[in-house]
């Protein structure tokens, strides 16, 4: 590779957003997400047929918009990177086919990327002015590292020996953290998606929550906040399990059960729902922090901890993870807000390190043989 940083076009259509980004090396020149253009972030969850149609309709214009914003011509693009899994099969297909055709016809180098590697490395993205939390050529000093990846489809703790070598240490046995938010929101009758609305309601919780949290540092670390402020007794999932796996289906069931009682008890009054939302977030957050803390203790050699995925937009969860990691003395990294949820810039940054460290791109006929992998693992 020449000393001039390569121009990378990156595409992600793994779920409901059509995203295209252009990077020069680590710097993002443009990152366009279809739902940002629309007023409504979602037009109704992920309805597969609509998702495919929307991706098909969007991708050309999102691509053109990204080129325009990046002020880059098609000819200047050297690499084309695209998510080939995991995700919704028919949604993945649209982005993959678009990228394959583009790369093949225009004789570009092609790199299929694992969506989760994107979340893993999103904190490495530099903005258009080459600013970011991780300095150039300092990347290797941050490894080995741990990552906590939390989204609608995943809840994983990953050990990264180097920038490109990953091992899943623990994962959810059933529902993902983001899915738990969606399902509990459905039980609470507050709509979809669940994360933002539950977080909004939690913001109206009783003051005792912030009081309890401000006193947290002085308290016994093992004592869950639920004992201080939780009146519903929601369980902290997998508190006592020895491994690094997660499980949110038990919490979901507990929520359903408690809520039935609350509805009967309070009838018209729904003020309980604010504290309930807060306690639910706490249970999810504690479950994540207990396992992350355990992982850090089991891997004392790590230098840093990365957080990624859409659920890392939750301010309560981020606060708890940040405090935990800082207390452990490890470096803590979280992507810029716009790169936490699904986006193509993170696919671009993953491609950048694949190019730099592994030189594993494809060319010519080999591009056409790449197939989608909806259940791909890291």
């Amino acid at each position: 590779m020449s000393s001039i940083e390569p121009i990378i076009l990156a595409i992600d259509t793994s779920c409901d957003d059509t995203s295209v980004a252009v990077l020069r090396g680590r710097c993002v020149l443009a990152s366009v997400i279809s739902s940002q253009i629309e007023l409504h972030k979602k037009w109704g969850g992920v309805v597969p047929d609509i998702a495919r149609r929307a991706h098909k309709e969007n991708i050309e214009s999102v691509y053109q918009e990204a080129l325009k914003k990046a002020r880059v011509s098609e000819a200047e693009i050297e690499f084309i990177a695209v998510t080939y899994g995991p995700g919704l099969a028919i949604a993945l297909e649209v982005g993959l086919n678009f990228a394959k055709a583009l790369a093949y016809e225009q004789k570009k180098k092609f790199i299929p990327i694992n969506h989760m590697e994107g979340h893993m490395l999103a904190a490495f993205i530099l903005n258009g002015k080459a600013k970011g939390s991780i300095k150039k050529n300092k990347e290797n000093e941050l490894f080995p590292a741990l990552a906590l990846l939390i989204s609608g489809n995943h809840t994983e703790i990953v050990y990264a020996r180097t920038l490109n070598e990953y091992e899943i240490l623990g994962e959810t046995l059933d529902d993902a953290a983001g899915e738990a938010f969606d399902k509990v929101a459905r039980m609470m009758n507050v709509g979809y998606p669940g994360g933002p609305i539950i977080t909004l309601l939690a913001g109206r919780a009783d003051k005792k929550w912030s009081d309890a949290l401000s006193g947290l540092n002085e308290r016994d670390e093992k004592k869950p906040i639920a004992e201080v402020a939780g009146r519903f007794g929601l369980p902290i999932p997998m508190m006592r399990s020895k491994d690094l796996n997660f499980s949110f289906s038990g919490l979901k069931t507990a929520c359903l059960y408690k809520m039935k009682g609350l509805r009967e008890k309070y009838k018209k009054d729904t003020d309980w729902s604010y504290d309930f939302a807060r306690e639910f977030i706490n249970a999810v957050s504690r479950s994540l922090s207990v396992k992350l803390s355990k992982a850090i203790k089991l891997h004392p050699n790590i230098k840093s901890v990365f957080i990624g995925g859409g659920v890392s937009n939750n301010k309560y969860i981020v606060r708890e993870m940040g405090a935990l990691v800082r207390k452990s003395g490890k470096k803590y990294f979280i992507p810029e807000i716009r790169f936490r949820s699904d986006n193509a810039a993170m696919i671009g940054i993953a491609a950048y390190y694949n190019i730099k460290n592994k030189k594993n791109w494809l060319e010519g006929e080999k591009i056409l043989a790449v197939d989608r992998k909806p259940m791909l693992r890291l």
């Binding site: 409504h40 979602k42 969850g45 047929d49 919704l88 399902k183 709509g191």
Partner: protein
């Protein structure tokens, strides 16, 4: 363009001026509990067209509207149980509630899927304006598309092209607004199980009138999973020339995924079988003595029609040797049943009921 400073004393005067602007098809900038918004009569095509020219928005992107209360909202959207809960308990406030629209607003306000986002701003002046005007106004942020959300009029007007500025008829300046986040959008049209599963009570009754093949009361996730394994054991000798389909019927959190784990485990699948809610369909390979094929784990929770299930390729999996478990199969019970009958497949109905926090009743019917 007129710019008025808002003091609580001049609200009457402001309301009169705004209503005049709205009636004439004009657009105006107003404060909300989040950022500044741009208002137009949501029912007038002329006003909305003017708003679109101002926003320089691409066509096909919906707008949200502000109403004065639930009573006004009902005229423009169908409220279901979820929307009703939000209107009754959580509004006014920074929440945009998306419901199915009734086509009573100007073209371009509803989304192309016929949904409409409604907000009740927690701002007395705005509510008074809407009450006085008697119709909803648009509640989109006042910035031109692609520019940042404005929290002060100076920020809004800075570098605004003259042609956009000239379209604004009136600005209500309430000074610098607190930098609160924009409203949270929630969709209530998704997974409206009560409507979709209208026939569910009949279905449960119909199944219950039959004699169950197997039944269990489980009191842990492990037991539910084990019962799944027992079901698989019972049906594993079904002929190989047709697919075997489990319809898993039960509320959230009653053990459908745990049961599926048991099915998979009995088939010798080593991969972790997780909830397919997000990916809708998960595919695993299995081989058990002479039986070999795919185990397909489907969750219809996030989808609205049989057509969507077809679009993820369900038909292609209805082939010999495949074992398919469908969570929330009751959402499209009759259609699915017909489809599977045509493929020659065998259907096993599994009904999950919730008895107490840790106790489930699970019954298997053919």
């Amino acid at each position: 363009m007129e710019r008025i400073k808002y003091t609580e004393k001049n609200s009457k005067d402001i309301i009169d001026k705004v209503v005049t602007v709205l009636k004439a098809g004009g657009i105006f900038v107003f404060p909300t509990e989040t950022c500044y918004g741009i208002g137009a009569n949501a029912t007038s095509q002329k006003s909305i067209d003017k708003l679109f020219s101002y926003k320089t928005r691409r066509e096909g992107k919906p707008l949200s509207i502000a109403v004065s209360g639930k009573k006004m909202a009902i005229k423009y959207v169908d409220l279901n149980e979820i929307a009703d809960n939000l209107y009754e308990n959580y509004l006014p406030g920074p929440i945009t509630v998306v419901s199915r629209g009734r086509g009573k607003v100007a073209k371009g306000v509803e989304s192309e899927y016929g949904t409409l986002g409604i907000r009740i701003p927690d701002h007395e002046l705005v509510l008074d304006i809407i009450r006085e005007f008697g119709k909803p106004i648009t509640a989109t942020s006042a910035n031109i598309s692609y520019l940042p959300k404005p929290y002060s009029i100076d920020a809004l007007l800075k570098d605004m092209p003259k042609k956009n500025l000239e379209l604004i008829d009136l600005i209500i300046d309430a000074g610098e607004l607190p930098h609160r986040e924009v409203s949270t959008v929630v969709d209530t049209t998704m997974n409206n199980l009560n409507i979709m599963r209208r026939g569910q009570i009949d279905l449960a009754a119909e199944l219950a009138s039959q004699k169950s093949i197997m039944s269990a009361q489980t009191n842990s996730a492990e037991q539910t999973s084990k019962f799944g394994g027992m079901n698989m054991l019972k049906y594993i000798d079904e002929p190989l020339d047709k697919p075997l389909v489990f319809f898993l019927i039960g509320e959230l959190g009653t053990g459908k995924t745990q049961f599926s784990k048991g099915l998979a485990s009995h088939l010798g699948i080593k991969e972790m079988v997780k909830s397919p809610t997000f990916t809708i369909l998960n595919e695993y390979e299995y081989q058990l003595s002479r039986r070999k094929g795919k185990f397909i784990h489907v969750d219809t929770w996030r989808i609205d029609s049989l057509k969507d299930l077809e679009s993820i390729g369900l038909d292609g999996y209805l082939t010999a040797g495949n074992i398919i478990a469908i969570e929330w199969a009751d959402k499209f019970f009759d259609d699915l049943k017909t489809k599977i009958k045509i493929s020659g497949g065998k259907i096993i109905n599994v009904v999950f009921d919730y008895l107490a926090e840790d106790i489930r009743s699970i019954k298997t019917y053919e």
